[in-house]
């Protein structure tokens, strides 16, 4: 056993000395490889943690949202709908929500204006999300003016900034009193953006939804479970595209690695011949190459994964911000609660370490089984 370990160490000694000869090339390779692992692992950790966060946070979302559609567009709920819902059995609580979008030309950002149902906001004051406050450079007590869609200018005082910790759900929120909302967006009393319902019995939710769509054919109910499912599958499909792109990168890398390994230079072939002539077995040469592949890919995996972990959970996925932002100016700064799926990590390990080790090992085979006397004749 000791001799076996010692022998593996000798083989590692040799393979490292060999790698050190082409330092720049091999370090470059390790860097590219690490970068690929880093990207894949970052996407993986980020999306998994985000899905988990959505599942954890959105359980508090309304059980049913009733949205009215007119000519294929989201439209206001006219007066009378709210009262009619009261007649559906099982509905415990119903409430008209008021919310809408506002494009702020000053910083070219979109805000979500919303009237909180549970608290009263003094007229002329706003509660704003931390992301929005950052975008406009606002502090409590500041004055801010918005020109409404009707052209009128409205001024508000910032009463409070929502906690930074909750940016993942509140970054762009502007909470406003109902009266201000109605006059700012020119929405007549009795109209609502949509209706939030709570249902006493969770098993009744689907029945209530069915009754709602029967009673309000122009409206569509959105269930909480559908909201949760939306976020459960967020990135799943398009993440597939990201993964497809990444796998292209991996494929390119595989070709590169294969080329590097299979395009065995005459020098390398000669070296293998020498090793065999001085008493190395075919198996020793293969083991030596195996260690090369294993060390390089293991190093790339470990470093790449570590960097990804730090990136996603310690540096708030800062590299993804531009991607998630798109053309928007306002981007929430959030710290995800780290949830790591061990199975995912294992999968990543397998798909990054194994192919490279194989790619270095397979082409060497032919050279390794060559006759050892080749060096005598060469």
């Amino acid at each position: 056993m000791n001799a076996w370990i010692e022998k593996q160490k000798y083989l590692i000694d040799f393979t490292l000395s060999s790698l050190a000869r082409r330092k720049a090339k091999n370090l470059g390779l390790l860097l590219v490889y690490t970068l690929i692992v880093f990207l894949l692992a970052s996407v993986m950790l980020f999306t998994h943690a985000l899905r988990q966060a959505a599942a954890e946070v959105l359980v508090g979302a309304p059980e049913v949202i009733l949205q009215r559609m007119v000519a294929g567009r989201h439209d206001l709920i006219p007066p009378g709908y709210l009262e009619r819902i009261g007649r559906i059995r099982g509905v415990q609580h119903k409430e008209g929500r008021l919310w809408g979008y506002y494009y702020d030309p000053v910083v070219k950002a979109n805000y979500t204006f919303m009237v909180p149902g549970n608290q009263d906001i003094a007229a002329g004051t706003l509660l704003v999300g931390a992301g929005m406050a950052r975008a406009r450079g606002l502090a409590v007590g500041n004055l801010i003016s918005f020109r409404s869609y009707s052209g009128k200018l409205f001024s508000f005082t910032i009463a409070r900034i929502l906690p930074h910790d909750s940016e993942l759900v509140s970054a762009d929120l502007v909470l406003i009193s109902e009266a201000d909302f109605r006059s700012f967006f020119a929405i007549a009393p009795g109209y609502f953006t949509d209706i939030a319902l709570s249902v006493a019995n969770p098993l009744e939710v689907r029945n209530v939804a069915a009754k709602l769509s029967q009673q309000f054919p122009d409206s569509r109910p959105i269930l909480r479970e559908e909201i949760l499912r939306t976020y459960e599958s967020i990135f799943n499909w398009r993440e597939g595209i990201v993964l497809a792109l990444a796998s292209l990168a991996i494929l390119a890398f595989a070709i590169f690695a294969w080329e590097k390994a299979s395009g065995l230079s005459a020098d390398e072939k000669r070296e293998i011949g020498i090793l065999k002539a001085i008493g190395w077995e075919t198996g020793d040469v293969l083991k030596m190459k195996f260690w090369e592949g294993a060390l390089v890919s293991l190093a790339a995996f470990l470093i790449g994964y570590l960097a990804a972990y730090l990136h996603v959970f310690r540096f708030s996925s800062s590299l993804f911000a531009p991607v998630l932002k798109g053309w928007a100016v306002l981007y929430p700064r959030f710290e995800l609660s780290p949830v790591i799926d061990g199975f995912q990590v294992a999968t990543l390990f397998f798909f990054t370490v194994f192919p490279y080790a194989a790619a270095t090992l397979v082409p060497i085979w032919r050279a390794a089984i060559a006759d050892p006397d080749a060096v005598m004749r060469g």
Partner: protein, 112 residues
């Protein structure tokens, strides 16, 4: 005096990296605890304000309120088509949308 062996150097480095990777799991548990307050705060906020979506993409209304998106405004193009808004390419339309579309197709609740 023999010089340091490359194999020892490499194995020790890898072992360190491996233990750091193992440490990420411990760090994750610790961070989870640290950030539990923030999570609870968000859950409360969602409940109080009756929020329906995560504020991930603020550039377009169908990505800002992903779950509230309607069938017609966004995703009107082929799923593989390039979106006008870049983040629209990152997320898929809620599966429910096509399902309700199906309902529109087949059922006629109101007599014609």
């Amino acid at each position: 005096m023999p010089v340091a062996r490359l194999s020892h150097l490499a194995l020790v480095t890898l072992a360190c990296a491996a233990s750091l990777v193992a440490a990420t799991f411990a760090d994750a548990a610790w961070l989870r605890q640290q950030r539990a307050g923030g999570m609870a705060q968000m859950r409360d906020l969602v409940e109080q304000l009756q929020l329906t979506d995560l504020c991930l993409f603020t550039e377009a209304r169908y990505t800002r309120h992903l779950s509230q998106a309607d069938l017609h405004s966004a995703f009107q193009d082929h799923p593989l088509g390039l979106e006008h808004f870049p983040t629209g390419s990152l997320v898929l339309p809620p599966t429910r949308l096509t399902a309700s579309h199906e309902r529109l197709d087949r059922e006629t609740e109101v007599p014609d």
